[in-house]
Symmetry: C2
Subunit: 197 residues, 2 copies
DNA sequence: GTCTATACTTTGATAGAC
DNA sequence: GTCTATCAAAGTATAGAC
């Protein structure tokens, strides 16, 4: 649809994603969104008839997909899986420092906010995490880890980076993410070694 | 101070903590708080002259301390460290299921919301996490893990449970927390074994 | 069909009645 | 010193001018 490719619509989506990362879902107002996107207020309801919830859902799914692509690109650029995992955690820490501890996971803040308050948005965050788990599971399986172990391990890797983001944003240090990266490499290495037996 | 022991004040603190877990900081209104606490609106500003920020800060620190005590009680009740860690993760999963996926970490949602928007509250969450890291580090050290390893490991354990809470609340399943618990036991066991050498 | 103006609700906060 | 009434601002949403 031509509507979906509207430049205004894209600007609203990008601006909303950026504001969600800083202020979360409840903390971001529609007025703030249109002001930052240089769009008239009515354009929100023109492009998103479902209002804030529809806009929020699209931003969650879109941000989740974009972030996954970035992480997978880092993994693919590395010579091997363990190096790729280490690079992903180090890269996340660098971005965090470079953006004054703003750009972490684009979904986590909203996910916790809506988990017990809006089921449509909760489901969107659940779908995003599920996509991530599937993608990481596939990479682990391809490296030779048994598929049921791989899925549990994929969840652990995502938990480590999300927990790392949380502690690092609060403390404004990247130590926790470095610890998470080391642990991530260690658990995957252990799984690779046990799969050889 | 007699004011600090006021029953109304306590009710406001408890109610706010509960609402923060469900709706986060921005999503919880002062009017909603006084309504749930059966308190007149003015009592908020009587007991908390600094308004919502002062109330929020007290709730963050108080919730952080209470939650730490609960977790330490679980660890102390177990015959050994590894069992205690497994119990803590299992217990967290049980509480999550029993409370319809509401009662997870009382600090994480607020921490992500305020990390880039209110430095007073961000600092409060940072202090809470630091207290947690110190307490867990002490338990790991007491079990024979070298102190610098122990601190990194403590961060990893907290990251695993926080990441587990995030994925579980979104998916409304406790699989991710079970995976986190297994990984937590595995990394601590590995640290204990290497400390024997 | 793009955008402005406005409706209506709720927000955090304050003043003052009693 | 407990509580009510009200404030200005910001929240989402809608109606209608052009």
């Amino acid at each position: 649809m031509a509507q979906d490719r509207s430049a205004t619509r894209e600007r609203i989506l990008d601006t909303t994603a950026e504001l969600f990362r800083r202020y979360g879902y409840t903390g971001t107002g529609l007025k703030q969104i249109v002001a930052n996107a240089n769009a008239p207020f009515g354009s929100v309801y023109h492009h998103f008839p479902g209002g804030k919830v529809q806009l929020g859902e699209e931003v969650i799914r879109r941000s989740g997909q974009m972030y996954l692509e970035i992480v997978l690109a880092v993994l693919d650029a590395a010579p091997d899986l363990l190096t790729g995992i280490a690079d992903a955690f180090m890269g996340a820490a660098e971005v965090l420092r470079a953006t004054d501890y703003i750009d972490a996971c684009p979904v986590a803040t909203v996910a916790l906010e809506v988990a017990s308050s809006n089921d449509t948005l909760r489901q969107a965050t659940a779908d995003v995490f599920d996509t991530w788990i599937d993608a990481v599971t596939a990479r682990l399986s391809a490296a030779g880890i048994a598929s049921d172990d791989a899925r549990r391990l994929a969840m652990v890797l995502i938990e480590l980076i999300e927990g790392g983001f949380l502690l690092c944003r609060a403390a404004r240090t990247t130590q926790a993410l470095e610890a998470a990266g080391s642990a991530a490499v260690a658990v995957v290495r252990a799984a690779l070694e046990s799969s050889i037996d």
